[in-house]
Amino acid sequence: MVHAAYEGGFANSVLGSQGLFRTLMDAMARPGTVHPVTTLASPPAGLNSTAGAILLSLCDADTSVWLTPDLARNSEVREWLGFHAGAPVTGDKAAADFAVIADPCRLLDLGAFALGTQEYPDRSTTLIIAVEALTGGDLMELEGPGIDGRIGIAPKPLPPGFTAQWAANRARFPRGIDLIFAAPDAIACMPRSSRIINQPGV
């Protein structure tokens, strides 16, 4: 019998990681744009396939990962991440290089993650937020580097009060966290440099 932790990694780890990274790089360089992804990894239930693939392509023994409580209690997910990426799971948000948010509605305090310092703003957490879809939520209009004028994005679901949280994150620039929205079939990013210029859902 094969344990679930051993299954579901990249079929081709070298090119799988490379291809997904290029999609991520493009998404981070052009905030708010939606980039379709094919299913590359099959993590245990609880973690969506895109979030799982992002973890495999970016994480290793050098990066600690914080998981939302439901995921952190899920031994299959922890073992899968340990076996395929070798990444340590941390319970300390402020020490995490990456954080996986499986239930975005309960994402409350963006400021509790590592924000970097004024000297080293890169020492911050990158949040991977598993969403159901990148359309259908409240439309956020973004401005900032990487965006020609404005762009709209509507990931679903997002927690109430997200706009205010993001404004606080933006105000800390160059410190702050970066977001990767991982839908089952697509990726979009919101780096700390992006500003939400409307009042979504109002």
Binding site: G19, R22, L24, A29, E119, Y120, P145, D148
Partner: protein, 302 residues
């Protein structure tokens, strides 16, 4: 098992990992690139590796390219605008060997362009990534040698020293005499060294459609300018930033408003000025443009 390997792969020679670097190194560089894009103009420290070429040959650019390149990419490498110089040829050959990617000299066909000290004359588009080889990433380094101090200056957005330097240029020479590695302000926050490109190229960085990545191997820094990002050359109201102008067109393709290299022809003062961007020049000559020293028509480019 061993018998199977022997029959499947007859010349069983150990080969490099795809794109030379090991996967853990690539992940480390990729994480640095994502941070660099998120904080435009900020220099992200990374664990630069020894590469099979000396520092100064573009080890930073090569590591960035190796971390992003895939089998579908088409790579162009230029050195001072030229595709056919030693540095460009050897880096192109390196990636053709270790990543088996297609290479080109044509700017329009390339998906990744690694460059040393020029930005192509042809406007870059959204699907392209420009990778700069950077010798000294810190724009304040010659003004303040201590890393702890320059880091604090970036943290506090304290760039007065840079303006003093440009002002002293004006006091001494009547104009800002910095002609390459001319400092820029990125998105109103970080002062950045655009690498030793001529200041002629600075305006091309402003709101470029292509993603621009900068790799400094010896100094272990990666930084980035995302597309559509404000890149403003530092200047003064009464001494506005100006790019170089040339009083004659390219001697081979008659192009104007491009960056020209001076070529000494003999020891009695003979010289010509030609496009620094060789692809741009070849392209124009193929279209039938003739400069005053063009001579015979080019053969069809192969």
């Amino acid at each position: 098992m061993s018998a199977q390997i022997a029959t499947d792969a007859a010349p069983a020679i150990a080969s490099y990992n795809f794109a030379y670097l090991d996967e853990q190194t690539k992940r480390m560089i990729r994480r640095a690139i994502l941070k660099a894009i998120a904080i435009p103009g900020y220099q992200v420290p990374f664990a630069s590796r020894e590469m099979p070429m000396p520092y100064g040959w573009g080890t930073g650019g090569v590591q960035v390219t190796a971390a992003i390149i895939g089998p579908e990419d088409v790579l162009k490498v230029i050195d001072q605008g030229a595709d056919d110089t030693t540095n460009a040829v050897s880096i192109r050959a390196f990636f053709a060997k270790v990543a088996n990617v297609a290479t080109t000299t044509r700017t329009m066909e390339a998906t990744i362009i690694q460059t040393r000290h020029r930005i192509p004359e042809t406007k870059l588009s959204a699907g392209q990534v420009l990778v700069y080889q950077v010798p000294i990433p810190e724009p304040l380094r010659f003004l303040e040698p201590r890393e702890t101090e320059t880091r604090k200056m970036h943290a506090l957005e304290e760039y007065g020293l840079m303006h003093v330097k440009l002002y002293e240029d004006i006091a001494r020479h009547g104009e800002i005499s910095t002609t390459y590695a001319y400092p820029v302000m990125v998105e109103g926050r970080y002062v950045m060294d655009p690498s030793p490109t001529p200041k002629f190229d600075n305006p091309k960085m402003h709101r470029s459609e292509a993603l621009q990545l900068f790799g400094a191997g010896r100094e272990k820094r990666i930084y980035a300018v995302p597309p559509f990002t404000e890149v403003v050359s530092l200047d003064f109201e009464d001494h506005p930033f100006e790019i170089q102008t040339f009083d004659r067109p390219c001697a081979l393709c008659a192009a104007e408003n491009v960056y020209l290299d001076e070529v000494v022809l003999d020891d009695s003062g003979g010289r010509m000025f030609v496009c620094s961007d060789t692809d741009h020049c070849e392209d124009r000559r193929a279209q039938g443009h003739r400069g005053e020293m063009a001579g015979h028509p080019l053969e069809t480019a192969k």
